[in-house]
Symmetry: C2
Subunit: 199 residues, 2 copies
């Protein structure tokens, strides 16, 4: 992965092997960036228009060392990324609890299941038991298409992998078990319009 | 605030003005520690017994600099605490969306409203509009009592402060508008039993 020279400009690197994070959001790594932005803007739109209250959870970080040069100005000096124990997004829409994970691939013919973690699957199973609505959003960034798959339709593909089957879902399979979320201007990815078709 | 010599033992301090974080959880600062532990254990109990799926959100952190000594082992070298835009806890209980904030005081006669932030109040207002159930848990650690207050009963005290009134809720007021959550062994703070009385 090439880091440091976007647009031909030399980026200021603070120390050897040290990468300044430009964006306020969690843009370390490359996965999920533009999908995450689209969803953040969509959720902000929903919030502003009182259509739903859905937030991305903060990235879980294990904090090891904090400096307090001044009482009011704590600086975290050592911390590590932790694996999330839940999905990234949840919230409430017309009394309904929504919970989902969103992932992106550059593949054009299948979606790798390695994008997801076993504990996220366990989490979404628990959500279903509590009568919440769990789903998965998958983006094929090279194709410009985004799908919403109810978790109960997604889970069988995960279980197929667990029992030794293929480690991805083919595009055709996803199409057969999902609904496409059309790109729009405002909101950018109106996934609630898809949710509405389920109830 | 005294740091460094609990139980008469000298704690290892890594650098000047630098405080190692002992606990995996967010125990920088002193606010909310034991209440947070009680709630985390309670939520783990609910999860294990499939009574509800409720998680504390990770502490939001703005990451400024990440070191990648090895590709697989990213270390955050500079980050700052961000103010959360929501409450700390949410989840689903029998199809119902729950959302709450939990705070602790050492005071014995009133609960300071400075423990809460305006954006948390705005967030809980939005939750009510979406037919979610929002509430506040307040712990008087010196008294050993914990209250659950529905947000619609809590909000008037916040609004009283905003219109120039007192900056705290008296213990008597809280008692009149809340239900006490009894301490137990398992779960430690069975707040769902209080939620049940509301439906």
């Amino acid at each position: 992965m090439a880091i440091g020279y976007p647009n031909g400009k030399k980026r200021k690197v603070q120390t050897k092997d040290s990468v300044p994070v430009k964006n306020k959001m969690t843009n370390y790594g490359k996965r999920g960036m533009s999908l995450e932005e689209d969803l953040n803007e969509t959720n902000a739109f929903y919030l502003a228009h009182e259509r739903a209250v859905i937030h991305k959870k903060p990235t879980p970080v294990q904090i090891v060392r904090v400096d307090y040069p001044k009482r009011s100005n704590a600086t975290i000096k050592e911390a590590y990324f932790k694996q999330p124990s839940t999905t990234d997004y949840n919230g409430v829409y017309r009394g309904k609890y929504l919970d989902f994970e969103a992932k992106e691939t550059k593949n054009k013919t299948s979606f790798p299941l390695s994008n997801f973690h076993p504990h996220q699957m366990e989490h979404m199973k628990q959500i279903l038991k509590q009568d919440g609505f769990a789903f998965v959003i998958t983006s094929f960034s090279s194709l410009g298409v985004v799908y919403l798959t109810r978790f109960d339709r997604f889970l069988p593909f995960w279980e197929r992998m667990e029992s030794g089957g293929r480690k991805s879902i083919t595009l055709e399979e996803l199409q057969a078990h999902s609904k496409q979320i059309p790109y729009g201007l405002n909101p950018r990815l109106d996934y609630l319009s898809i949710i509405d078709t389920f109830f």
